[in-house]
Symmetry: C4
Subunit: 246 residues, 4 copies
């Protein structure tokens, strides 16, 4: 059936687009259903409905997976591709749960979450983000390393200042890392904070230095993205300009 | 009366400008009056004054609405326009409150807030922001989607790590979303935070990845705005340069 | 005495520079002394030292003020200028405190803080910041207005959601504004936060929208500054290029 | 032995690169080992293993230091260079600890942390960051000063507003500085926050002004970095373009 092949593999055809949107909506609905299931006090009828909706989703996703496998040119490379693995992980937990104890499979269900990544599959707009990410890649990686070093240094520093005053909250360098991340990202939950004068002065300087470092990657990505968008615009203008010249 | 029509519809005429400023000041004053009314212990005389000021504002706004309706070329399209609806919502709650119980109308009063949006109506400077928003639109929408996915994935992740340790605070995926938003926006109220080692390590990585994503849209808007301002400046310089050449 | 006049009024001469640096260091030292005085348990000898250091500073600043006044071309315009007022406010509280009760003058002492603004007087580098501020002025003002509207709207919104559940913390729209500022700036002290489901969902959307707005002005200033620095660099290169051509 | 000299001093040779990577991995491993040692309840066998790993690291680092010293052209300038001092500080604490009391040397161990700075030694990618830092240097320094003034002014302001209401938390201007840094960096631990109406209004305005100032340096660095990357790209394109012309 040539038209079915087209629907599955060619997202530019009209039916292919419709099928694509249907699958995307189903992925979102199944994620919402999964989230509702985690609510503590849901009625039996709702739980039943969610169960049958889950069965429905898994059937559709299974049929989709089989068709994708059937129409793939290189079958093995599809199975082992990133999306191939996600596609199978999105449906496998359901089948495994049928045979074994219900409680133990709960851990596997987290893989259902990967369905959300399927959304990314079809989104063309992500390409532009990829280019920007490539442009800013080296700088972002470098800043990640600097951020890592900064987090680690500040964790060791605060450990020496606060360990004696708060032996439970700053029990080790690893415990202090929790303070580092919550402070330097400016989250500041308030569960750990320095109480000694030395620790507070240390935090003061770490924050002044750190704030100028930890938020730089976001600025780099934004710059790269807006440069890409600008170049695209300029190219367009240039083409139009050259077209009017002739 | 041609001059009255001019005052209402033409903001470029002298009287039109004055009327415009008068309405804007009244909107701000009525908003302040509304806020003062919510204060717990206000004297009866102040409450009386605020009531009569409210009556005064509603009368002016009603007259303005009637005149705008009367002078509008396409009456129905004004009534159904965004500002037409806001204009009627800004005065309607007052008239409805006269007939019915006072307590029940309190809910409707929130619509009075929409008066603040009238301020935006007259502000020409917003145009430049609109252009920048158009430039950065696609990227901002994409980042909103990525932010949404990130928030959802981190909510599910933290649910699995913290649900057992803090069954009340992380009761469901939806409860965990509250943690996601307060953590990834770096607000960090301190009402919910991970206590397990796994949850803390998960938060660590989510924050390092998330911080570089969630603040990007602001950078994109800033870039688009400063590019627009730069182009405007360059155009001006070019015009001046060409003028001197002749 | 021509050379004394030069020292006071001409900061480009050698002695003028030295005098300038001396005054700047004294301003910083007097600010540190003022801060130490606020410490709860300081010894009598330290308090005595700080008092005499204060007397010394005030004498120097008084002499400086008199000389500046004496050598000023337009005496009245100096006295009424921004820095003229700050210069007198920096020394006046000391003389007033001699005659009257010690407690009541404490309020006046806050003006000593304005001495720090004298630092700004001499700093040429601030000029470049002024140009960038002018470039980004309109956009920053617009964003300030948008931020103001956003803060106010979110204060009213949270008031309706949380007023009944937390009547003390969200007592009025003005009380809710405290929540607005601490949430939208992502400070999140943790003294006020929504507890109702409606309030949390409202906070969720306000934060997603607000975060992309409230941090834009900083990005605009940074863009304007880096553009200015770039133009300066390009101008320099151009001049050098034209110089080599001849 | 010429080849050994090459390995130590020439990182461009094949063996030099391998040696370099080996030292870098060892530095990271020794830092992890050091962090694990601070954990409160580690088994005796793990403690033993960590001790012998520490001995191994120190021996390698000592041999490396001796060889670097031996092959250095100017021996004294190596010993007194920044990395020369870090290299000796990374191994010295171990030797000192052998003779003296174990507890007292704990303070010295913090110097082991400086090993992490050795990582920076080999990283070429840091060069680009250095250029960007030079470009943005003046502006960043200026903003650091403005940030400092802002922190200090807000500390004095909040001191006058909150000192009477919370005499312990806002005991002096220095105590208030802790509030300043935790508020203006938007960390907001929640250990100190204003409770008076005046203090809250003051915080409101300080945050609106401060937020636009304190995050500017990060934007400046990001701008400088993306400009550098762009120029590099344009230069490359220009060279390619000129190459095709000939």
């Amino acid at each position: 059936m040539a038209s079915l092949k087209k629907i599955i593999t060619n997202i530019n055809s009209k039916n292919g687009r419709q099928f694509d949107i249907f699958i995307q909506v189903l992925i979102i609905l199944s994620l919402i259903a999964f989230s509702i299931e985690t609510l503590p006090d849901i009625s039996d009828s709702l739980a039943d409905f969610l169960y049958w909706f889950e069965v429905f989703c898994v059937i559709i996703f299974t049929v989709e997976y089989i068709l994708r496998f059937y129409y793939a040119k290189k079958k093995l490379s599809y199975v082992l591709s990133f999306y191939g693995i996600i596609d199978i992980l999105a449906i496998l937990p359901f089948y495994i749960s049928l045979g074994v104890d219900l409680r133990s499979i709960r851990v596997f269900r987290i893989f259902r979450v990967f369905r959300i990544l399927k959304l990314a599959r079809y989104n063309k707009a992500l390409d532009r983000f990829k280019f920007a990410a490539q442009d800013a890649k080296e700088e972002v990686v470098l800043f990640m390393i600097i951020t890592g070093i900064l987090l680690y240094l500040s964790a060791i520093g605060i450990y020496y200042f606060e360990h004696e005053a708060q032996p439970e909250k700053f029990a080790s360098v690893f415990h202090s890392l929790w303070w580092s991340i919550s402070t330097l990202t400016t989250v500041g939950y308030g569960d750990v904070y320095p109480i000694t004068t030395g620790g507070k002065i240390f935090t003061f300087f770490i924050l002044i230095i750190g704030l100028g470092i930890i938020t730089v990657p976001a600025g780099l990505v934004a710059s790269a993205l807006s440069n890409n968008a600008k170049l695209k615009k300029e190219d367009k203008n240039k083409l139009e300009y050259e077209a009017t010249k002739e």
